[in-house]
């Protein structure tokens, strides 16, 4: 097995609502989707965002578009209009997650 970065096999966009950020993650090809479903559990994503996300992370599966939706609570320092962060609207969570590491077989090629 080897490890690759999520950005090789997926794309993502994040958005805000109050103090919650959601991150849509989409497999670039159908064949990549099972890796996301298997390895990107809500627990692992919460751990990945340690220090940015303080609440619960809930995952929704959308096999129809090879997508996962992560809803992250207490993620915006109070919310867009209250936050002292530069990324007060959580636009960068979608790029942050692209560094998530995925384990693939040694002979895996894009």
């Amino acid at each position: 097995m080897k490890r690759i970065q999520l950005k090789e096999i997926a794309h993502a966009r994040s958005g805000d609502k109050g103090n919650t950020v959601n991150i849509g993650v989409f497999a670039k090809k159908k064949a990549y989707y099972p890796y996301l479903v298997e390895q990107m559990t809500a627990e692992k994503v919460k751990k990945f965002f340690q220090g940015l996300v303080f609440g619960e992370v809930v995952r929704y599966e959308l096999p129809n578009i090879e997508g996962l939706n992560f809803v992250c609570k207490e993620a915006l320092d109070g919310g867009g209009s209250q936050s002292l962060r530069v990324d007060n609207l959580g636009k960068c969570f979608g790029s942050n997650i692209l560094r998530f590491e995925i384990e693939v077989p040694d002979d895996f090629s894009l």
Binding site: I65, L84, R85
Partner: protein
């Protein structure tokens, strides 16, 4: 078979209208729909209205109308916008004024009100409405109430449909859902029933894909963003909708940007929580069976949207004054840029301690290293430059303004190479408060009024 073409005109207050004009000119539109309001926008409008009672709407509506009214007459489409914000009648006056000035006649402008519940807080409390905040479960206090800047219920498409039925060419509302302007024309044109959940859901979802302007046509696209051409003339999305609710997302031929399954997918989940239960005033939308099909270049067909019965309550979002943010940004050069920034930060803390300056809250970033990543930032080596950003929260605006004054002396008295942008204006912070109100308590107060150009108003 009848089809209705709806074009996107605006994704937020401050958005470019170039895409709207392009859609109006070349989009072969039946309707041009706008979403001008965000939570932060409502706060800006509340402040505007407090200082100048004749304001409180998104002021770019005047410029937009100058460009779009002649095209509307020429190409025979209608427009729907929530640019009215906290003062829809004032926004209407602007539209009428622009029309008269440009010599454009025979335009009916409808105004929808009833979303603003700030004057009705105690009445709703007496009626037993639970004001507990949905997000934090905190109880509503007198203190919060006194600091409220706005409180608006999200209206759905229903009053907008009624305005179209009364012959409106332009419908101006306040706080509607982002998608209402897009759904209303479909209900009006196709005569969809109030409980035709699947079709209504399809209309809402279409609106969702259009309400953030170019975010479904290649803007803010993370997959292969380098392949997006001509961002400077990016096309805003257009939906061609069939009577059964299915639709095709496209854009004006020759415009910049891209429409494919990937660009549509990214917008599909944007600001969505449970994809099987996306709640709107008109219907609960389920997108877990949606199919996206690339049927031609820059054309994606969307099918399979399901709907469930609409909720009994409407959501109110209120904003309250939560103090001020002062922020200072100063830069340091290689070598040891990050180390210099950290030293400057430490000096500021010591000066604050000596002068007994305290704040409610502080936040520190090293721009170029971790300001967009926070604790997720990886080791950056010894970067060419790093900017120290220090942000403070305080309830005293003057204190926020004065925070900057601590920094200029460091240019001579601190670590080497400090450079600054100068002072950054203090920003008001806003707390959000949301709760549910029984639909009938809101809908009984919704009004629709019509004006015509030339009429005394």
């Amino acid at each position: 078979m009848k089809k209705v073409r709806i074009g996107a005109g605006q994704g937020f207050y401050g958005d470019s209208f170039d895409g709207a004009v392009m859609n109006a000119k070349y989009g072969n539109l039946d309707y041009l729909a706008f979403d001008a309001l965000a939570e932060l926008t409502m706060a800006i409008l509340a402040k505007n209205k407090f200082q100048h009672p004749e304001l409180g709407y998104t002021r770019d509506i005047g410029l937009a109308m100058q460009a779009l009214l002649p095209l509307m007459k020429k190409n025979k489409f209608k427009m729907l916008t929530n640019a009215g914000g906290l003062n829809p009648h004032a926004a209407k006056e602007v539209v009428l004024h622009v029309a008269k000035k440009m010599g454009i006649h025979d335009i009916k402008v409808a105004v929808v009100t009833g979303d603003d519940i700030k004057p009705r807080i105690s009445e709703l409390q007496d009626a037993g409405v639970d004001f507990t905040d949905l997000e934090t479960a905190k109880p509503f206090t007198k203190e919060i109430e006194e600091k409220l800047l706005f409180a608006n219920a999200y209206l759905g498409a229903k009053p907008l449909v009624e305005a179209l039925r009364q012959g409106a060419d332009i419908v101006i509302s306040g706080r509607t859902t982002d998608t209402a302007q897009f759904l209303a024309p479909l209900i009006y044109e196709f005569g969809w029933e109030e409980d035709d959940w699947d079709r209504l859901a399809s209309g809402v979802f279409m609106g969702h894909l259009l309400e953030c302007s170019a975010q479904s046509t290649g803007g803010n696209f993370s997959a292969d963003w380098q392949s997006i051409e001509n961002f400077e003339q990016i096309g805003y999305p257009i939906a061609e909708v069939s009577e059964n609710g299915e639709f095709v997302i496209t854009k004006v031929e020759g415009s910049g940007g891209l429409v494919n399954a990937q660009t549509v997918k990214e917008q599909m989940l944007y600001e969505i929580h449970d994809p099987a239960n996306y709640i709107t005033p008109d219907v609960v939308v389920d997108i877990t069976n949606v199919t996206l099909e690339e049927i031609a270049p820059n054309q994606v067909k969307v099918t399979g949207v399901k709907g469930k019965e609409r909720p009994k309550d409407l959501k109110v979002v209120a904003g309250y004054d939560d103090g001020y943010m002062g922020q200072v940004i100063v830069g340091f050069s290689w070598p040891d840029a990050l180390e210099k920034a950290k030293k400057a930060e430490e000096i500021i803390y010591r000066i604050m301690e000596k002068k007994s300056i305290t704040f409610e809250k502080m936040h520190v970033d090293y721009i170029g290293f971790n300001s967009l990543h926070g604790p997720l930032a990886h080791d950056a080596g010894d970067p060419n430059e790093v900017y120290l950003r220090m942000a403070v929260k305080t309830y005293d605006k003057k204190k926020a303004d004065n925070f900057f004054r601590l920094f200029p002396p460091l240019a001579l008295n601190g670590p080497p190479t400090m450079s600054t942008f100068g002072q950054i204006p203090t920003r008001q912070l806003l707390g959000m408060w949301s709760f549910l109100v029984p639909r009938k308590l809101i809908e009984s107060h919704v009004t629709i009024s019509m004006s015509e150009v030339g009429e005394p108003v």
